[in-house]
């Protein structure tokens, strides 16, 4: 089975990857989109004073 990888996805913050699987005839059998980044804000924000959070979470995506 042939595999085509498109990496990274254009103009996406958070890094996406597209993987396309082709069958023997060269037709698309299946395609997957993955977000390959993980941040972790849900955990590390715990304990931060609430008024500091808006200024901090704008860095989840600066676009």
């Amino acid at each position: 089975m042939k595999k085509i990888e498109i990496n990274p996805m254009t103009r996406l913050e958070g890094h996406g990857k597209i993987t396309i699987f082709l069958d023997e005839q060269g037709n698309v059998e299946n395609a997957f989109m993955q977000v390959v980044e993980f941040m972790g804000y849900e955990k590390f924000l715990i304990g931060m004073p609430i008024e500091e959070v808006p200024r901090t979470v704008t860095t989840i995506c600066g676009v």
């Binding site: 993955q34 304990g47 004073p49």
Partner: protein, 318 residues
């Protein structure tokens, strides 16, 4: 004569620095006309990693990397950037010192994944499956994800020629940096591209610049507990502004908007561990020791932007 080639890679960042370059607006047209932008992924151009890997080593004059190095894909591509670029710049505080996303180093990967994918009241994951680095779907489609690592600033992975701080860097400062690059007027390799002044030195609220002397803060306040007096120093009023230890290439934008500086510009020259110097500076500006106990949440305050570049680099548990 051919135009200098520029490449830009966004690693573990947010894209804000990329947009800050775009924020040069009309000035960007002048800069862009003088450059050949061969790669800007993933934010702007339709280039792919294999395009970068195919370029000859050392063929790109300037490489910008923003975002910290957080997973194996970032680690691989920044090494490719180092190979392909003659000059590599850590662009923005994430690349320079680790950034806000560096706060993940306070926790283990297991704890972070557990909170995001399993233990939150709004998460529907009954089989408690965290992300895997390899998965085979339907028995035949193999998919991979990069491996997660501790967040690191760029210079802990590859040699860095220049550093530019800011979250994001102020667009006028970026313009000046590009002009210096294009005219070859750069400081020695390994330096920060900065005016070298602390936020306080460029802040209109600095009492010293008004001919007065600085006073100790007699109280510690959260920003919700009051409004700074107009024209007065925010730190003196107890709001824990990190201006004294932060580079002021931003022109003290936050204090001019009544908001205390949080240190995104990076450390003033000569400081290796921003958090440590910030703790020492703030403590020395407080009137008495009891006030130190009142500082809310020190780690997210002093190490917000520079945890990975600090001496410890992360929380160490025994």
């Amino acid at each position: 004569m051919s135009k200098p080639k520029l490449a830009y890679y966004l690693a573990g960042g947010c894209g804000g620095c990329d947009i800050a370059v775009v924020d040069l607006a009309e000035a960007l047209v002048d800069v862009a006309l003088q450059l050949d932008i061969v790669f800007w992924a993933p934010t702007v151009l339709d280039a792919k990693y294999k395009d970068l890997e195919a370029m000859p080593d050392g063929s790109i004059d300037v490489g910008l990397v923003s975002g910290n190095v957080r997973n194996s894909e970032h680690e691989h591509i920044v090494k490719v950037m180092r190979q392909k670029c003659k000059v590599l710049i850590a662009f923005g505080i994430c690349a320079a010192c680790g950034g806000i996303k560096g706060l993940v180093n306070l926790h283990t990967t297991e704890q972070l994944l557990d909170k995001a994918y399993i233990n939150t009241f709004s998460t529907d994951n009954p089989e408690k499956v965290p992300p895997q680095t390899t998965v085979v779907v339907d028995g035949k489609y193999e998919l991979t994800l990069p491996t997660l690592m501790d967040a690191r600033p760029l210079d802990q992975v590859v040699k860095v020629d220049y550093y530019i701080g800011g979250c994001p860097p102020y667009h006028e400062h970026i313009g000046k940096a590009f002009m210096a690059l294009l005219s070859g007027q750069l400081p020695p390799s390994g330096s920060w591209i900065t005016m070298g002044k602390a936020v306080c030195e460029v802040c209109d609220r600095n009492p010293v610049l008004q001919g007065k002397s600085k006073k100790f803060a007699t109280t510690v306040k959260r920003t919700i507990e009051g409004t700074p007096t107009e024209g007065a120093c925010i730190l003196e009023e107890g709001y824990l502004c990190l201006g004294p230890v932060t580079q002021g290439d931003c022109g003290a934008k936050c204090p001019s908007a009544n908001v205390p500086c949080r240190g995104c510009g990076g450390p003033i020259p000569g400081v290796k561990d921003f958090g440590l110097r910030a703790i020492s500076a703030i403590a020395s500006m407080l009137d008495n020791e009891e006030l130190v106990e009142q500082i809310p949440d020190p780690v997210h305050l002093f190490y917000r932007y520079a945890l990975p570049s600090s001496f410890l680099g992360k929380r160490i548990k025994r």
